[in-house]
Symmetry: C2
């Protein structure tokens, strides 16, 4: 059991992630520079290299933590046993949408393949966890429109991700903060579910 304040700084590795998250929220992915993270943490500009060998590694670790948040809140919603089959399926898309609109910078970082290593084992494991959970829900549905489960899962996730991503660019509709009530997204989900009957 190692103390909180061993070594020079303590556990700098975790402190760096915290600082990176703060900078991400405040200034977007472009603001999460090695040097800014180091300054925010109160350490010299080359200190982070001991814990994350380069910026890509740091941002990958951060993206992994962020996706864990998404998985966690999604699975928590599914613990409600009073949900209908339809609502259980919708939970995946709605949780993703809520998170994306509430934390645009976090959501966008996750999908920045130039900044994040999407072959990272840790990140793949977390993503698979959510994907597998979605497939498990879908496979229990009575009618599946003659589609395999993967097609249904990828369809739903694609629609949700595409909507969030394009909405964050401000392309389709002006970005407002009424995240809780999203009539268009609901209509899209209803349309999706309709095809399964």
């Amino acid at each position: 059991m190692q103390n909180q304040k061993t070594f020079h700084h303590g556990n700098l590795k975790h402190a760096l992630l915290q600082a990176a998250l703060k900078l991400l929220d405040e200034h977007g992915a472009a603001g999460v520079t090695i040097r800014a993270v180091a300054k925010e943490t109160g350490v010299s500009h080359a200190a982070p290299v001991n814990h994350y060998k380069d910026r890509r590694t740091l941002l990958t670790a951060l993206a992994c933590e962020l996706f864990k948040e998404i998985v966690s809140t999604t699975l928590t919603r599914l613990e409600d046993s009073s949900l209908t089959d339809k609502e259980r399926i919708f939970s995946f898309a709605v949780a993703l949408c809520d998170y994306g609109l509430a934390h645009p910078n976090r959501y966008q970082l996750i999908w920045r393949s130039d900044l994040v290593d999407h072959q990272d084992a840790g990140l793949l494991a977390v993503m698979d966890e959510l994907y597998d959970a979605l497939c498990a829900e879908l496979s229990e549905l009575p009618g599946k429109a003659g589609c395999d489960t993967d097609t249904l899962a990828v369809s739903l996730w694609s629609m949700a991700h595409g909507y969030i991503d394009m909405r964050l660019t401000g392309m389709f509709e002006p970005h407002n903060d009424s995240v809780t009530h999203e009539p268009r997204f609901r209509a899209m989900l209803e349309l999706y579910f309709r095809s399964l009957q």
Copy 2:
């Protein structure tokens, strides 16, 4: 009528865009720097400022040209009068998917809101042109599942964009080059169309 080789360089503005496109294809958006574009064009590092006031303006102009390509190829496909209603709708999604998988760097640049100004009038006009064409096709369908046209259009576009975007990260499936035949994407489109009946 102004000559091709007026002024110092000729029409540097167009040459810069060409160089930017080459660098984009070869090295991704991160490789399209003002200085690299200038060097590729054979001018000094500060020459581009006379035609594009900063990097964002240059990349926005480039993104606009790229989206024009997408609109052009999509509308060309629609000129085939032998297409069924379903195939006409699919053309929008398939053209987008083909383009995205054939030119990952180009497609990804278009949606990089940190690099491209999505409020740019020129870019908005081109995007609206494609969106309006899609809505025109959708509004002629007999059954619309009780949805307004916008919901149908945003659903289809979201699904297509989300699929392309996530596929380019290599998240769902290994990225291969068999762009022409995409069975999963076809199945997703069939699922979408099924919900309209």
